[in-house]
Amino acid sequence: MLELKNVRKRYASQTALYDVSLSLPRGEIVGLFGENGAGKTTFMKCVLGLVRCSGEITLDGQPICRKNISSLSFATSEHSFFPDLSAAAHRDFYREHFPAFSEKRFKGLMEFFSLPLHRPLRTFSTGQKNQIEVILALCQGADYILMDEPFSGNDLFNREDFYRLLLGILEPRETVILSTHLIEEVSGFVGRAVLLSKGKVVGDVSVSRLEEEGVSLVDHIKQTYNYRSDRVSRALKELTGEEQ
C-alpha cells in the first residue's frame, strides 16, 4: 500500500500540492487527472523523492528510502533514459541494478513495439522514445509504476493497443498510476480516478461505481471541474457576433 498523508509542496511563492492524502493499494490502475498545473507531475516527483515535500509518504508502512525505492518505477514524457545508450544497454543496466527486472517482459514488449535493440535511443522517433521509456518502467520489477503523460506524441492506435496490452500483462501486485489528459482514451482501462485541481484532491472515485450510477468518467470529471459546455459557443458568438 502506497500512502500519502498531508503531503504539501511549495515552489517559491506557489503551493503545488496542498495537504494531499491518498491510499493506493496494490493491483489497481489509477488515473491521475487534472488541468495543466494541477500538481500531477509534482505528486509523482514527491512520491519518488525527486523533490522535497512535507507530510508523510510510506510504502507498506515504511518511509520511501533506498531500501524500497526499487519498488517504484517512473515513465515520464521528459524521458529518464540515457539518449546515447541503446535499448540493449539499458536492459543490461536495469538487469544489473534492479534484481527484479523482467527480461521476458522486456523482450515481449520490444517485439510488440518493433523497437530496434542496438540503436542509440537518441535516434528514435518521439513515439519510440515514449515506448522504450514505458517498457523500462514496466520491466524494472516495481510494484508501483508511475507514468506521467507517457504517450504524448504517440498515435492513437499505438496508445490503444498499449493500454490493452497493459491490462493483460500486469500482475496482481502491480499498480499503475497514470497521469494523462487523454481521459476518454483511458476511461476503459483505469479502475480508479483521482482528480487534482490547483494542488488539491477534488475527486477520488471508482470507475465501476460510476458505471453502476450510469455516469461516464468524462462526464464525472467535467462535473467535478465545473466545465461549462456552452463556453465554446459563447466565445464564438462574442468573436463573430453570430448565433452558433
Binding site: 523523492g49 521528459e78 529518464s80 540515457f82 545508450l85 544497454a89
Partner: protein, 164 residues
C-alpha cells in the same frame, strides 16, 4: 591495457564520452607540461649569470630552486583543480542533456551510485595530474642540482619548494 580500457566506462555515467574526456585531459596535460618548461628557460638564464667569459664568478650564488619552480607547481595544482571542477560539473550536466536520466540516477537503490559516476573519473584524473606534476618537479630538481655548480647552490633547496 585492454582490461584497463574495459573498466573505464564503468567509472563514468552510462554512455558518457569518456574517450573524449581522456583525450582532452591528455591535451591539457601536454599544454601544462609545455608551460612547465619555462623553468628550464629561467634556470638556464640564472645559470648563465654565474659565469663571465666561461669562467665561474667568485662568490656567485645561484637563484633558489623554489621561486623558479613555484609557477610550475601552481600551474599543475590549478590544472588539477579546474579539471576536476569542470569535468565533474559536465558529468552532472550530462544527466540533463537530451533527456533526463537524472530521474533514474536519483532513484537508484545505491545512494552514491550517481555521485560516484560523476566524480570518480575527474578525481582520478586530477590526482594523475598532481602525480605527473610531482614527477616533473623531481626531474627539474635533479636538473637544477646536477647541472648547477655545487658551490653556488645554497643548502635546503628541496625543503623550500613546499613553502609558498
Amino acid at each position: 591495457m585492454k582490461r584497463f580500457n574495459d573498466r573505464l566506462p564503468g567509472l563514468v555515467p552510462p554512455g558518457f564520452p569518456w574517450r573524449r574526456e581522456l583525450g582532452i585531459f591528455g591535451a591539457m596535460a601536454a599544454m601544462v607540461t609545455l608551460y612547465s618548461m619555462r623553468f628550464l628557460i629561467s634556470w638556464s638564464y640564472e645559470r648563465q649569470l654565474l659565469f663571465r667569459n666561461g669562467e665561474l664568478l667568485e662568490g656567485a650564488v645561484m637563484k633558489d630552486f623554489a621561486p623558479l619552480i613555484h609557477p610550475v607547481v601552481i600551474s599543475y595544482l590549478l590544472f588539477a583543480a579546474v579539471f576536476f571542477a569542470v569535468y565533474s560539473a559536465l558529468g552532472y550536466a550530462y544527466h540533463w542533456r537530451g533527456a533526463k536520466p537524472v530521474y533514474l540516477m536519483r532513484r537508484m537503490p545505491d545512494r552514491f551510485y550517481w555521485h560516484r559516476k560523476c566524480l570518480v573519473m575527474p578525481a582520478a584524473l586530477a590526482l594523475c595530474a598532481i602525480v605527473w606534476g610531482l614527477v616533473i618537479v623531481h626531474i627539474y630538481y635533479l636538473i637544477y642540482i646536477c647541472f648547477t655548480p655545487e658551490q653556488c647552490v645554497a643548502p635546503g633547496q628541496w625543503a623550500a619548494v613546499w613553502r609558498f
